[in-house]
Symmetry: C2
Subunit: 296 residues, 2 copies
């Protein structure tokens, strides 16, 4: 048994919008991705290059922009996102409401020690952060560029100040996903030996038969990457053979045995596969199991 | 071990569109229901009355009409569906492409013995069926009303004829869902002792902990009904307590343990829950397991 379940990542191709026609259809699909990633606490979203197709630059830009936008707390959106064509339908997309999407607050109501997502800004010669309060908060740290980050609020000489904190120090609880564009998935395989890959494929072994092998393979896995193919082709065609070889013994799994439709759409595959993987992963790890013993 | 896995049904409330604003949003949601039902070979869709809310008649009509429409093969749609307000966005909804959605064929290309969905029509004084061929086919049977049904084609005196077949005689393979409107779910519980209920609820036991009990409870279950609450309230509020009592020891399951968002939307809950249940159910039953041994 492992000490804690692996963190969950997904890899989707840059051709993910290949069969969506209008900006509205594309936006709705990306929103479904964002919702599924957030429900299942996905930490890294790898956007890899589909070798079978030259994805349109506009589509790739739409995927990254809209995923970033939906992952951003409401209070930061006006500062970070000017009027953009890509966000034309953002208003009708379902919100994420993850724990880092906190409410806009009065400074008097914020607790010291609280972490909030914010943006570092230059204001009248000093650096301040906008963390969704009615005032900008003085930034405690060395000179920086303007950017989005996470900040811990604390009291210093009776006043609220903000320090930047690294992702590793965010503590428990889900805090959204990062989007990482990769030319090839083998870059990931090279990075770490504790990364394990699950390739979703209709030609894979049925999830109902491979469940035990999956659980066994998760010991000593820090990061589990679920790899999806494009709306038109399976992973074994969108990723180079060379790439697949570099994954350390990937499991190739059919998540939808006996499917009753000709195809399973990418957004459906993501939602369904993550639901199954989550139901398996949370049973691993004492800490989590304990959390549930208390809950039930 | 049971001889074969139970058939899968779902129960959704008549308030399922309560939080969708426009006809477009409502249509997109119903289409997601239809896709999920079809992917996981759902046979019965029970639309039950949410006791906490008086659903709008228009919404209930939209759910049933659009679900029926999407379940109908392309070739029958023009005959069965006149121009209707409810179908304004039907053209942009993803098709189902289940096995009963066959292609329009020339009569010369059809195989005798084939089953096709069709409609019984009166034509020049006799009964014929439109089963998506370039000719209407003579109907073999007693006088009937015009209606949609399933027909088996055979040769009689060198000509193709059509006989109506009952659902029970459809044979293996998925053949779409039926929609059944119910005032109360207890009507179901009364009908049969081989119906088992799974209630999806955030306050239920984690699927990761209850998996074994679920598998055990499926022996001697002919029909497994997965019950969903409304977009605003859980099943334990949308169904009367009296109803829940009548279910024979229902399992109350949290399908999304440790969810990273404030809520899981109904269409997401359906897709995710059915994916999990399917991954468990297909492992039951020798026949199916054998099918998969051959496949892998």
């Amino acid at each position: 048994m492992v000490a804690s379940p692996p963190s969950l990542s997904v890899a989707i191709p840059d051709s993910s919008l290949i069969d969506s026609k209008t900006l509205l259809e594309k936006s709705l699909r990306v929103a479904q991705f964002a919702r599924a990633f957030s429900i299942f606490r996905v930490k890294q979203v790898y956007l890899y290059h589909d070798i079978s197709y030259n994805a349109k630059h506009d589509d790739v830009k739409l995927i990254t922009t809209l995923l970033e936008y939906l992952n951003t707390p409401q209070y930061l959106r006006r500062v970070l996102y000017p009027k953009m064509k890509q966000l034309q339908y953002a208003g009708m997309l379902p919100p994420i409401k993850s724990p880092h999407h906190k409410k806009f607050l009065k400074t008097a109501h914020v607790r010291a020690g609280e972490t909030r997502m914010g943006v570092l800004l230059r204001h009248k010669g000093s650096w301040v952060v906008d963390v969704g309060l009615d005032q900008a908060i003085p930034f405690l740290g060395s000179n920086q560029d303007s950017r989005k980050s996470n900040f811990r609020l604390s009291m210093s000489e009776g006043k609220l100040v903000a320090e930047e904190i690294k992702d590793a120090n965010l503590g428990p609880g889900y805090w959204g996903y990062n989007i990482i564009q990769l030319y090839s998935l083998s870059e990931l395989a090279k990075r770490s030996t504790t990364v394990k890959f699950v390739i979703t494929s209709r030609n894979g072994r049925s999830i109902s038969l491979i469940r035990k092998s999956l659980i066994e393979s998760l010991s000593n896995t820090a990061e589990l990457v679920i790899v999806f193919g494009s709306p038109r082709k399976g992973v074994l065609e969108t990723v180079s053979k060379n790439d697949v070889m570099k994954f350390s013994s990937p499991l190739i799994i059919n998540m939808f045995p006996l499917q009753g439709t000709d195809t399973v759409r990418l957004e459906e595959a993501i939602m369904g596969s993550l639901a199954i993987i989550n139901s398996i992963c949370v049973s691993l790890g004492d800490k989590i199991a304990h959390e549930f013993r208390n809950f039930n």
